[in-house]
Point group: C2
Chain length 293, copies 2
DNA sequence: ATCGCTATTTGTCTGACTAAATAATCCACG
DNA sequence: CGTGGATTATTTAGTCAGACAAATAGCGAT
């Protein structure tokens, strides 16, 4: 009875753990880098959140479970570049010991990462980080992991480029296919956004709702799937913008123009309006990142 | 000694198993639907494939492992509509018993499905199928699961619509940013495609290579991520096209036009050429599905 | 150069216990 | 007598531990 069973054992808090051996080739024998992931408050922490059941809690509670935490910790370490593609993680026994979790919990975490294309495991070889182009970058969780540690400017630009491609086209389709309910939800979202402003969480949620509903109004499931990705991009980039400048610009006129075009059933007009909207958001974000313009 | 340990126990072959209880609400007490997934050769089957290590084997071997098989089986059942969103799967013990696998293997399968947004589990409530809009439709594996059981025409149309939005824009970007190596790979792919034709696996792979390289040449990681999805769409829709008509049309001239425009560095021309290419492919597919036009 | 061996690593199995969330119960109170 | 709220019971996923199986990269013998 010496070792208490079932206690969460404090998880990763405040531990310096080396989990990777970076043995890219056979001979990689010298010093182990000793990655430190004390930062960003990984681990339990979220426990109190459940009571409120607020905005973040709808992540499917995967992060509140221990395998979810491990997946997140490792996922952030991978996408932030602490582990390079091709690196091989320590074997399951060592890793689970270092993280002080059972092997099964660790394995479930690895399964999550593998499902998102971040790692690949095989017997004898071990579990290795896959090439970047195999990662499911547009997966909401992966996206969230990216934004936990200052994504590169290039990555942000790529995300905006994607929005710039998808959202105008989606707005055009939405202008042709939206139904009254969707139109009503867009209007409500914009009104909410107007009254609360983007400085509040409610305002940002309304912003996301608007963009989500536009995607949904295309009636295209594949396109709608991108809404969680684009929604995440909107969310995180809004945070970035807010961080530097306080009120970059009044976003409402542009939003209303998109709405009016969709409501009027004018595809081309909707496309152009959305193009302008996203373009301006890109400018703001760029300005917030590199204070040279 | 009676029960032999470690033997794979033949897996799911030829068993009629009911894994879901469809108890949407508390009182759903009557008959259990008894889903039958004998079909489509689930289970082992793939074992021989590893020897060849051919085209399909690069799926990260997740399907050759038992948790991968289970995930695939359940995944197909979910996306094909055998389980409706909101349905609750039987509890882990019953399910793993019915599938004749250990609970841990079953749990790892569930983790995979959860990572792709198909299910969501919580204590006491159980594991339930999530709403469609939470599914990672663009995940390569999910896409493959869709195409294992005749996806709806609507879904196919949506996929083409996505291609129609993304690929022309990508071609335009590629015309501006491609480097010589990428150009060379595109040329090689088209030559290969020309000599082998789309009737051969090699020709189809070359087709996919071409589209992949265009996406890659955008230099946009988020965009490039869609290549696995779009590549999968190309692959499966090619199969569909091939099934009905034999040689729907010579696709090469359209492909070369795209290539020439990208090589010449003309974005608008590349966009238009790609638009035509995807548009024609859509027509062919539509003709192959409903033989009424 | 080829074949077979071996060591290492993931994969699978078993069974037990923990924790969370819901349903049922019971008791105090109006 | 009924009603609301706290308490207990039950059900389910979550976690743990340790053992054994299967696959395979790398090495040594042939």
């Amino acid at each position: 009875m010496g070792a208490p069973r079932g206690v969460p054992k404090s998880l990763v808090v405040g531990q310096t753990v080396s989990l990777v051996s970076r043995c890219v080739e056979i001979g990689g024998s010298d010093a182990v880098p000793a990655v430190d992931w004390t930062g960003s408050g990984a681990g339990v922490a979220k426990k109190k959140d459940r009571a409120g059941d607020g905005e973040l809690a709808r992540d499917g509670l995967s992060t509140s479970r221990i395998h979810g935490s491990i997946a997140r910790t490792l996922g952030v370490a991978i996408v932030s570049g602490q582990y390079a593609p091709g690196d091989i993680l320590n074997n399951e026994i060592d890793s689970s010991e270092q993280l002080q979790v059972s092997r099964s919990a660790y394995r479930e975490a690895i399964r999550i990462l593998a499902a998102k294309g971040l790692v690949e495991s095989r017997p004898k070889t071990g579990t290795r980080v896959t090439e970047r182009h195999r990662w499911s970058l547009l997966d909401p969780e992966v996206l969230a992991w990216f934004f936990e540690s200052e994504p590169s400017e290039e990555f942000l630009k790529g995300l905006y480029e994607l929005r710039m491609i998808v959202e105008p086209a989606a707005a055009a389709l939405a202008a042709e296919r939206r139904d009254d309910g969707q139109l009503e939800r867009m209007r409500k979202a914009l009104i909410q956004m107007e009254s609360r402003t983007l400085a509040t969480e409610a305002g940002q949620a309304a912003d996301r709702d608007f963009h989500d509903t536009v995607l949904e109004a295309t009636g295209n499931a594949a396109l709608f799937t991108l809404s969680s990705s684009i929604g995440a991009a909107v969310r995180w980039t809004t945070i970035f913008k807010q961080r530097k400048r306080e009120l970059p610009r009044d976003p409402m006129p542009d939003h209303w123009k998109v709405f009016d075009a969709i409501a009027a059933g004018r595809p081309d007009q909707a496309r152009e309006a959305m193009e302008r909207l996203v373009g301006l958001a890109l400018e703001d974000t760029r300005a917030a990142i590199e204070p040279k313009g």
